[in-house]
Symmetry: C3
Subunit: 145 residues, 3 copies
């Protein structure tokens, strides 16, 4: 890759992750699905959680999992300070720091969540578009009510 | 445009928006004014608000509006996860996720505001400098006291 | 410098600062030390504070200072909206907006800190790696319990 190609890939990966956040928070589920590779996997297991309950494989299952979690809630997800490395013309990995806030509606089992942590991800370029291949969220702290 | 020119434009637009935030929060009003095109327009209308009261046209009017709102307050405005697209050598658009905090002084009509949302903007390069041409803020949630 | 070299430098400086935040919050002290130049200096003096108590010179002293402050605490440090300028092939400076949260353990003299402000930094490229040369933190607001 030339340096220009490498920069383009880094910028595109940052924008894929930006769409991940924006589409989740604006409930644009078609846009959200489009950031994942067809065979992507995502692991949102919190500390002490059962990973079988907090993971999903396959783009459609990831979207279904996230919608079940937050579709009825107001959510804010922010990413920070990307560390993106492009390892080939079609592969890369990234770490993003993150903060998330969730306000569930009246009557829900949970009321609010406020968390901080990191996304640790791999990316793959498929049909000319960078997509999230694997995603793992780790947490520094969570506050819930 | 060459790819290098495109990258430079994306980076410059991000830095214009960084100055927007920093100059507002440090009350550097000359610096704040300089990020806007002379004929810029800004729409900060909150959900359910009257857009005539929350919009301003022309650089000087935008600065006057923002100063009236926050000059006496401590403010923190953070932007996140830019999605910048350059559409020609002199035009572009961007979305930035955002969080804002305002603490008004003792005795003010309002005490605090904590909000989250997005900036949706267009940019224009005038006399060699990228500037904000139109700005519209949309909100995911606001908490006020 | 070519434009490609300049972009690479800007991206590398952003990633150095990303490691600063991530290594502090995950308590990776070897990684944290590696972001500083050997003769770096850091000034974390809060408004009204005594700079002799809140500054450190030399990479090892900076790490010792930060560890004393936050090693027993859960911390979240996020940087935002970088303004990086590369002034030569081996020098640059940057401003990052920031938010920090600290939760000290039970029984500590302090309980929590939540702050907002800016990092104002210079960078130097030494042995092919960009490193923080000087760091000064300024604050917009701090809330403590």
């Amino acid at each position: 890759m030339t340096e220009a190609e490498r920069f383009l890939a880094i910028e595109e990966i940052k924008q894929v992750k930006a769409r991940y956040f924006r589409c989740m928070d604006t409930k644009d589920w078609a846009g959200f699905e489009a950031v994942f590779a067809p065979d992507a996997s995502a692991d949102y297991t919190p500390p002490g959680g059962n990973s079988a309950e907090w993971s999903a494989s396959g783009r459609a299952n990831i979207v279904a999992f996230v919608r079940r979690m937050v579709e009825q809630a107001i959510t804010v997800h922010h990413g920070h300070m990307p560390e993106v490395e492009v390892t080939s013309p079609t592969t890369g990995h990234a770490v993003f720091a993150m903060e998330d806030l969730i306000w569930w509606p009246e009557g829900a089992r949970r009321r609010t969540l406020h968390g901080w942590g990191h996304y640790r991800e791999t990316y793959e370029k498929i049909d000319g578009k960078w997509q999230i291949k694997t995603l793992r969220m780790t947490r520094l702290r969570v506050e819930q009510t």
